[in-house]
Amino acid sequence: MLRIAGLDLVWPDGRKALDGVDLTVGAGEFLSIVGPSGCGKSTLLRIVAGLIPPSAGGLDWSDAPTSGGIGFVFQEPTLMPWAKVLDNVRLPLDLARVPRKEGGVRAMQQLERVGLADFSAAYPRELSGGMRMRVALARALVTRPRLLLLDEPFAALDEITRFKLNDDILALWREAGVTALFVTHSVFEAVYLSTRVAVMSARPGRIVADIAIDLQHHRQQSMRTEPAFGALCRRVSDARSAGMAGGMAGGEVAA
């Protein structure tokens, strides 16, 4: 679906954020990008979204997500506090000038999918953090995007809510048949969710490992304690540590 090739990003002040990032995203994948904070993984996501132009290299879309565009979920729920939940979910459709009535129906369906149909008339501040994040997910999926970008969406949530949302996002991903690009600093979360995990080095960010997660397709919380899960976490974790040390000159951790 997308080939990222030799992508560099240099900030105006001369700091180099990304250094020759190569990454292929296949259609239907759930690809996580793991890396230490400040490694530029969120920046990479913003470049893919078209919010920041890269300094060099580029994005090669074999299958550009034009129709539904790109869904983006931020670190914060990023809801409009003055608008009701339903209006927040409908926003991307409103901006695309989808007729109001049709937009309302589609937004409501998406709210049902995240289990918040009863809260359509509530304001964001009346919801819990986890519920707000689910509204943000509904909003990102309401346009039926081909590509869903998630920028550490669960980082600010407590662990129980986080586990619950992990299962929710997997269900939504399967149901919507969407390609997901997920940025996180949590190794466990990445392994639990993904079909593939790419590991980034400390700044300037490069991809230092690309690990296929060959666990069974249907993930369950009980898998978190299984040996295979632990082994994969270990591999991702080792690659991350190596990347943080920065001594990876040319070396690739084999997938």
Partner: protein
């Protein structure tokens, strides 16, 4: 809540009654001449006796204040929207808006009157009150329109939002709390502006409350002066209360400033 709530109303009320009683007693006991300090009862009598005259003046002052306020709201927000669209325009115009603000209105009043003509004093009053009321709305609206959650701005960009969509769906609602806070200040200033303008430019043809105060002072009709003053205060309180109510009404369900006030 109930005990403390009632007390919050009762305490200032009791204090007011006490002060009025003390005032009345002091004026009578010390035999203060009425042209120095009239007793509250004398002010009340003047209020009743001069009722038609004062009401006419009240209406004129209210009219100019409201017109100036609405004009300030429209021009302030309008200019802020222009500023938010273009940094260059904002940089070029903002200093002049500040100059307009810091120049004492009394100093430009004679000029404004000459320009609009003595036969249209009402218009002169309106312009002067507008100059005073306009700036808080402009500066608050400008701040509010630019203080938008950067992630929400990105979300709008990502979904291909146009300039107008971003303005109406994102910047305006974000700016609303700021604009309302500015309006609250500006409402009071519009009244002050109208009063100051009347002091300088009022005449027999435009006799608002401030003009009545000047006139009553010249004629040593001090009870009437106090009555006009009382009406001015009430007008100010009314404007403040109305704008506070509007602020609560519009922001109650979503903005932090109004949450937990039980409106």
């Amino acid at each position: 809540m109930t005990g403390a709530g009632i007390w919050r109303w009762l305490a200032p009320l009791l204090l007011g009654v006490l002060v009025l009683a003390l005032w009345e007693w002091a004026v009578r006991a010390l035999d203060v001449p009425v042209f120095v300090l009239p007793a509250p009862s004398a002010v009340a009598r003047a209020l009743v006796a001069d009722y038609p005259l004062l009401l006419g003046s009240l209406w004129l002052t209210l009219k100019i204040t409201l017109q100036a306020f609405v004009l300030a709201l429209i021009t302030g927000v309008g200019l802020a929207v222009l500023f938010a669209q273009s940094r260059t325009l904002s940089a070029a115009l903002y200093p002049y808006a500040v100059i307009l603000q810091v120049t004492p209105v009394v100093a430009i009043a004679p000029l404004v009157i000459i320009w609009v003509g003595y036969e249209r004093v009402d218009l002169a009053l309106l312009i002067l009150a507008w100059i005073v009321a306009f700036f808080p709305i402009l500066s608050n609206a400008t701040l509010g329109l630019t203080a938008v959650d950067p992630n929400l701005r990105d979300l709008f960009r990502l979904n291909g939002a146009g300039r107008w969509q971003t303005l109406w769906r994102l910047q305006m609602p974000s700016a609303l709390p700021y604009i309302l806070a500015g309006a609250k200040v500006s409402g009071g200033l519009a009244l002050i502006g109208a009063v100051v303008a009347e002091f300088v430019a009022g005449s027999g043809t435009a006799s608002g409350l401030a003009w009545r105060i000047v006139e009553s002072g010249n004629r040593l009709n001090i009870p009437r002066l106090f009555a006009a003053l009382l009406l001015l205060s009430l007008l100010g309180i009314l404007i403040f209360a109305a704008l506070s109510w509007l602020q609560r009404r519009l922001l109650a369900r979503w903005h932090e400033s109004e949450i937990g006030r039980g409106a």
